[in-house]
Subunit: 301 residues, 2 copies
């Protein structure tokens, strides 16, 4: 199992010691490191990512580092969760940069396996969540959440007892992973962290790197449209179709966007709001050039 | 969480202390007990069962007790793995007897949850093994191995790092569970144990209790037919169809049996034997009255 230790910045005699992070590529090495940490009485935080780490990931890692003794960041562009081969091929990759971000944010370990190491030959298993995985983003991207659930079950199996940190930008993913852990009795506590945004409101996403400057200028319109939806709810509108239409109309004023879907759901069940709903979530997906962006906002009623 | 301690036999002053076993019904209690055992440096053995324990189960427990410090037996008639509601309803149940068998064989813990405790409300997850779960018994009992894989993933999630013991009477189940552990990176070592048979050759099974005395007399014919198949292989026959026909003809001499299926496969892949096959397995399923019996035998070539 390859393992190398990387300093987040070059150290010199005049500087204090810099945080270091171990890069491991083997599953057995990850399991061993985290088993040893727990055996020494340390708690483990896990931050599963697909790499191309940005400030949103850094916030997850910093949060994990304040709550856990040892933080492991996993970097794996999981082919199972990609519906479109071109999307998988285009997904940004930058392992050296990821290691630097992870180290600076307080991680002790980066696990970056190859696809062969992760799945081996002839892997047959799929973890499916009937219902939750088939709606909203799951309907738009068939098999996506099965891929998420399968890789997360594997990562949790390797990591063992831990807290695992996920960003609310992928709101349905958080719900899927929570459900997964509950339904499979995995010894993992899921921690959801708020979406991190650029100054103009655009939710940080690895896919933002694929936007042209022209598209990047238009990108905050998605967040602005969701904010308008939240304002309508705050003003008393409760009809999901009316809110969806308002968000769609707002995004329609930015011609570079092509709306894929917008839904307002109960934030706890991700189903249509009902009499017991106290928290709503408005979720949208839209194409901007060749990039598909998602975002969401919550509102209490 | 209910927990009671049961002595395997009534103790008196003149007898030495009898083995005792703790009966737990809550998932949290099981997890806590096994976490505590490992924290104290003890190894854990898990024997998942559907109860109605017989000498085959006792052999698994005894083997686990020789290889592990603490043995937990799970007793749960898993509705997910039953294709037919009448089969589920008829499945024998005897928790008091199970606790006594487990204690006498060396278990320290019996975990016997209710269905509600095990699955909770609205559980959505299914673990599916494409290929392996759909063939042979999986073709005869749609969804059966998804149910097995799902409940085993949950039991392994609760038990944590352990060795888990399964009987080869359910040969394809062993293959499914091995594949599950490998594909999901679960920290579990699967140990397969030989089928235990009555003196007349009948493989021990909880379902044998459902046979009438008249049917029980006929039941060894299944094992005898499989032995004839093995003898044909030993005599040089390699054609799976010819072996299957020979086994079917042999079982046909016992009119109380109705053959469901017989297959000869590569014992490692459970696929059709090929040029690299070194171990064959002949597997059969047959109805005897209202009971469906399965059995299998191996032969090296």
């Amino acid at each position: 199992m390859a393992q190398r230790v990387v300093s987040s910045r070059r150290a010199s005699r005049s500087e204090p010691a810099r945080p270091t992070v171990a890069l491991v590529t083997g599953k057995a090495a990850l399991r061993r490191a985290l088993d040893q940490a727990r055996a020494a009485g340390r708690t483990v935080g896990l931050v599963p990512t697909m790499g191309a780490l940005h400030d949103g990931h850094a916030a997850l890692i910093r949060r994990a580092a304040t709550e856990c003794d040892v933080v492991a960041v996993t970097v794996f562009v999981n082919p199972l969760q990609f519906h479109r081969p071109d999307d998988l091929a285009a997904y940004p990759r930058n392992l050296d940069g990821d290691v630097a971000v992870a180290a600076a944010a307080g991680a002790r370990l980066v696990f970056a396996p190859t696809g062969t190491e992760m799945y081996g030959a002839g892997a047959q298993v799929r973890v499916h969540l009937a219902g939750l995985a088939d709606r909203l983003e799951g309907a738009a991207r068939p098999g996506h959440f099965d891929g998420v659930a399968t890789v997360c079950t594997k990562l949790f199996g390797l990591a063992g007892l831990c807290r695992a940190y996920f960003g609310e930008k992928d709101f349905q993913q958080v719900a899927v992973v929570r459900r997964l852990v509950q339904d499979l009795d995995l010894p993992v506590e899921i921690v959801a962290c708020p979406t991190v945004r650029d100054g103009d409101g655009l939710a940080l996403s690895s896919r933002n790197a694929l936007l042209t400057p022209h598209e990047r200028d238009a990108a905050p319109a998605l967040h602005q449209a969701l904010r308008l939806g939240v304002a309508r709810v705050a003003a008393g509108e409760r009809d999901p179709a009316a809110i969806a239409a308002a968000v769609a109309a707002a995004l329609g004023t930015e011609p570079r966007f092509r709306l894929d879907r917008v839904d307002m759901v109960d934030a706890d069940t991700l189903e249509a709001p009902g009499g017991r709903t106290t928290r709503l979530r408005i979720l949208a997906a839209a194409h901007l050039g060749r990039v598909r962006l998602i975002d969401n906002l919550g509102v209490e009623i």
